[in-house]
Each structure stands twice: as structure tokens, then as C-alpha cells.
Amino acid sequence: MDRYFISADDVKKTYDIDIVTAESIRNGLIQITRQMQVTLVRGALTPYVRDMMDMATCIHRLTEEGSELIAITEGCVQHAFTQGPLVSHILREWGVENFQEGDVVFTNDSFRGSLHFCDVNCVRLCFWEGKPVFVLSDTSHIADMGGNTAGGVTPGATVYFQEGIRVPPMLLYANDIPVRSTFNLLLENCRTPYLNLGDLRALYGTLSIGERLLHSLIKRWGLDNVLAAARYTLDHAERKARSALSEIPDGIYEATEFLDDDGIEDKPVKIHCAISIRGDNAEIDFSGSAVQCLGYIGSGWADAFRCALGIKLFIDPGTPMNSGFLRPFDAIVPPGSVVCKLPPGSIAEHSQLGNRTVSAAARALSLALPERGFADESATLTSTHFEGFDDRHGKGNPFTTGIITPAGWGATYKSDGVSYCAVAIANCYDYIVEFLEQEYPLVVLEREFVIDSGGPGKYRGGLATYVTLLALADQEFNLWAENYRGAALGVHGGGNGKPGYTTFIEGTDPTNLPTWEGITPSKYFKPFCGTFDKDKRPDPINGKYGLGCISWSDKSIRVRFPKGAIFRTVVPGAGGYGNPLERDADKVAQDVRNRFVSVAAAEESYGVIIDPCSLQINKEATASKRKELSEKQAKGEWQVSVAHHPVYPLETLDEIVEIKESRR
């Protein structure tokens, strides 16, 4: 019997509540946050919330230390790890005794545990018979908080004053009445007042609905039972986490990840993560990580626990998230490092960092425990933020919008990685092309998977996606991307995912784009940023980051995107798991038929020979090729390379064998 098992009698003794009631309320609390989530997503105005679900809705309980997160519905998964510490910290500063019924406190401060200024948080206490009994909070990504560029993620920012306004905890509603001074401050310091107003109302409405639902739960079961069940809920998650931790041998598990650069200095940014396990306790330590960079990459102290998502993926994916999961952990983030920037350093771009702290934590465990491991995800929310005037209706309406292009997850010990999936720290709906084209002067010409982009392995990494956009009006964009220099790392013999890159398409027009599975002959484009060789081939093996590019960095600001221009982003693919020579040859052939892998890459990375015309496997040739590669591999003369296109056309797509040989 697992030592973390408790019997029905133990439940009764410990919580003075029967197991059936405890389980009923546990579920009831989660359901309330679900409904709050629906309210917020459907009620919010910014695309960040309505489509990308960059939000979360939470219930906390009050404790002597502050508060603990009991139940959450994650829009954006990262909040499940940051809302607990953040809300507890704010309550401590504001003082629980200073809350009245119907008060809502607002903050967006990254130095108090929020993620960046555009992620705003609202906190309301739930009163019962005149006493505060629970805490409700919600958070969402608001369209704009001012600063140097729209959208808050400001490449080139070095101090936080450039990214927008920093709002310490302030009263947004007093006894359910909007506080005009706070609203004025928030609406007069942004480019999108009507969106922000809608979002603030949605955040407030969601907390009101949460309180109403929580009241009905308390009415149904009684306050004492709900409080007891809240303790049970937290302890249950803690028991699950401890049980899983105790199965990992004591020791220190370490991994290192690198961000491409900070947009200011041309050098990678190191993240070092060590996870120490002692019995069922653990410590996460980021000592040895790079000093805080000059540019906008970084976070306050939110990554201390955001990275624990990587551990959760590994040890206990099944249990609904709450503070109980975090109880066995302490986290160390050295002040002055990139994971704990000192003010006034800029923390505008927190998400790319978060992806890496999560990957580092997951990788530390994956390297140590191969039987359960998985490779790196693409680890980037490749974002492009557009700003300009839409003159399609003759009036020149100002507009601003952002799009995120998802990539893939790493292959695991038992499966290929999922493709077209938001990074682990997020979870989103994608944008609706037809809505986007109605609202903004953009045409999404192409949006598909990229061939040869998933890290080769026994299990293949998730694929990259490419997006080609046509401007219908003069505009500018900011780009922020990752893994254009580096790559999503494979594990246990799996190859790395293909790095990303961005180009302007030239010398052709939208009616006649020479594109095949994300590949366009290099004659037709000008590299914008990424790793290219001297002939403009995107080439992670022999190329150089920034070579021949308009921008040396994958974080660029205010790029002119004139009417009629075509711009393409190819996001990075995810890492592979295990030896690609062990991948089932039929699966490789299926990948070739689906155009996930090219004939050339099937041979080069997997040792599988496919006829370019019939797309059938040549069994004999495959057997001898695989034998040859295995022998070389054993002698250390061969190892699978990063995912790439073995033949990249310069002039015409006919340089690709399956196009040349194809009957059609």
C-alpha cells in the first residue's frame, strides 16, 4: 500500500467530513472555476483572451501565511503555478482586514509575482455572513498597457518604463462600485481603451459570478464542510505530488537551456536548472543562470514556480492543479539573474523565458529517467504584433493585433509529439482566419505544417508550422521568436527540432507563390532573421545566425510591412525521442506520404529508402542503409542531425526529388 494512501476513516478523522462529501465539494470547486473561465473567455474583448485563452480563474483559501490556491481553470497553464504565490503575496501587502465586501484589487506588477504588465490580475474576497472566507482571483492578458509599442511585449526595451505602466495593487471596485481614478489611470495609459474597459468589466463580472456560485456551494454543503473539503483538496494534490516524488531516487538532476538572445546583445542567454530531491521534498535552483540581460527577456520571480509545470508534466499530469502540488517544493531564483530581474530591468518578454525554464525542469528529469522522458517542445510562442491604419474602408482606422503561430511538443518515450499545439505554459484557441481578415488588413495566404521540421527519433517531434501573410495596407510589426539560433533539443538519441526563420517573399506575387510544404526556393525571398547559409538556404548545420538577414535577432521592433508585401514565418519544430534508426519504417513511409518527412530526409535521418514516385519503401535498400548507419553510429561516426531539409532549392521546386519524379 502506498504510504500516501488515506482511508475513508482517516478522511473523517482528519477533516471531520466524509469522503463522499469531500470529493463532491472538491469537484464542485473546480466546476465553479470552469464556469468563471467560460464567462471570462466569452465576455472578454481582446483576442488574447477570447481566442488565446491567456487567462485563468481561481479560488483560494485564506491561511495564516496568506492564501493557497484550491481550484483553477487554466486558460493559460502557467497561471496555475503563479496565481497561488502572487495572490498570497498581494493579500499580505494589502491586508485581508482591509478588504470590504465587493472590493476588487487590481495589479499587474511583475515584481510582485505577476508575469508581465499586460497580464493583469483581479482579487476579490468572498464573504459569508460578514466574514471573508475565500479568495477569488482572475487574470487575463489585456490588449495594451501603454509603453513603447502596442501589446506590451516590447523588443528593444531595456527598462520597464518602456513597456507600459506598472500598477501596484490598487482598488478597482469599492463595494462593487467602480473606482473612477483607477479606471481613468488604466484607460488613459493605453492605446486600446475600449478593449481594456471591456476586459476590466469581464474580469470583474467573472469574479462576481464566481462569488455567486461559491455562495450557492456554501449554502448547499455548509461553510465548515466546504472549508474542510478545501483542506482535503489541497492535501490530496500534495499527497499525489509527494507520492510521485518519492519514487524518484534522491539526487540532483540538472539541465541547461539557452535562449537565442535578448534582442540587444548577440549572444545566447543561459538558463541552468537543478532539481534536488530528498525523499518526498524537492528544491528547484536556478543558480548558475545568466545575469539579467540588457534586453526585455526576463521575469520578476514568477518563474520560480512556473518551471514546476515541467515537473508536473513529468510526475503527475492527472491531478487538477492547486497549491497542494507545490507544497513539497521550494524554489531558488538568484536576484539579478534572468529569472529574477531587478527593477528597473525590463521583463516584457517573460513567456519565452518561461518556456525555457519549463523545458529545463522537464529535461533535468527526462535525462535522468529515460523510461518516462520526453524531448523539448518548440518552446516558443512565435508572435507577430501588427500596428497601422486600415484604409480598406477609406477612413484609415487605427488597428493593432497580434497573432501567435504554434508549433509542436517533444516526442515522448511512447509517442510522436503533438503538432500545432500551444506551448505547455499556455493553451489557446488559434485565431480565426476569416475573422482576422474581416477585422484587419491582412491576408493569411498559407498556414500549414512544415516538412522535415520535427526532430527525428524513434518517436518524432511535433512539426513546425509556417504562416505567410500579405499586407493589404501599410503597417508595421514587432516579431518575437525563439529557437531561430538554437533548437528544441531531442533526448536519448533523438534529433533536435528544426530551427525557425522568417523571410520576406519577393519576386513573385500572391497568385503564384512557389511553395511546397513550407519550402520556397531561396531566389524568391529575402531572409529577415534566422540561421542561413551564404546562398540564403535556411540551414541549421552550416548556416550562421543572422547571416544575410535584415535583422540579426529574432526579436525585432517596428518592421515596415508595406501594402502588397508578403512575409513568412516558419516556427521551430520540436525535439525527437530515441534512436531514429529504430523508428518503424512503415511509420516513416506514412510520414513521407503525408509530407511530414521528405524522401531525402527519410534516407538521411532514418535510413529509410522511399521511392520518390510511388512513395513505397524499398525494403532491401532500407535494410542495408540502416545497417550501415547503425554500424557508423556504434563507432561514433554517425549521429542524427537536427531536423532540416536535406535539399533546399535555390531556383525552382523541381530541385526536390519527389516533385521532379512525380507523375503529377
Binding site: P85, H89, N98, F111, M170, S287, V291, Q292
Partner: protein
């Protein structure tokens, strides 16, 4: 007070480490004398701990005092009397 904890200069080191300060004590749980004091993030927010390094038992934990510089940012108004609007 807090007003000194608002703006910092960037450190000069290339990589940053946390310093764990040795404490002269014995772990009541495992008997080890490898006891250290350092700032952490706890699931309820920033704290300072005195903690056994061999079994991770916490000897004590507290909300950081003003001079403990943790978290690095502390509001200037810490400890002020509160008004209706905060």
C-alpha cells in the same frame, strides 16, 4: 526602508548564484549539521528559510524582514497606515 529597494543596478557577474549561508544548528529530523539559511519562493510567496540540506527539513521560515532584501523589490510604503483606497 522600501525606498532603497526600488531601483538597482545590473550585477557585473556573467552568471548568478544564490549564496546559502551556513548556520550552526543540527537538524532535529535527521541529525545533520549541514544547515543553511537562504531566500526562497514558497508556494505562498517569497520567504527566508533555515533548512537542513541533507533532508530538506525546514528548521524555520519567515516572511523576509526589510533588511533581508527579498524579494528584491519592496514597496516604499510598506508599513504605512492604510487608507480606504489602499
Amino acid at each position: 526602508m522600501g525606498i532603497e529597494h526600488m531601483i538597482y543596478r545590473r550585477p557585473n557577474e556573467e552568471f548568478i548564484f544564490i549564496k546559502k549561508e551556513p548556520i550552526d544548528a543540527k537538524c532535529p529530523k535527521c541529525g545533520s549539521t549541514d544547515i543553511k539559511k537562504y531566500p526562497i519562493i514558497h508556494y505562498t510567496g517569497p520567504r527566508v528559510v533555515i533548512k537542513c540540506q541533507s533532508c530538506f527539513h525546514k528548521l524555520s521560515m519567515w516572511y523576509p524582514k526589510a533588511d533581508e532584501m527579498w524579494p528584491p523589490f519592496r514597496p516604499a510604503t510598506e508599513g504605512w497606515k492604510i487608507s480606504r483606497s489602499g
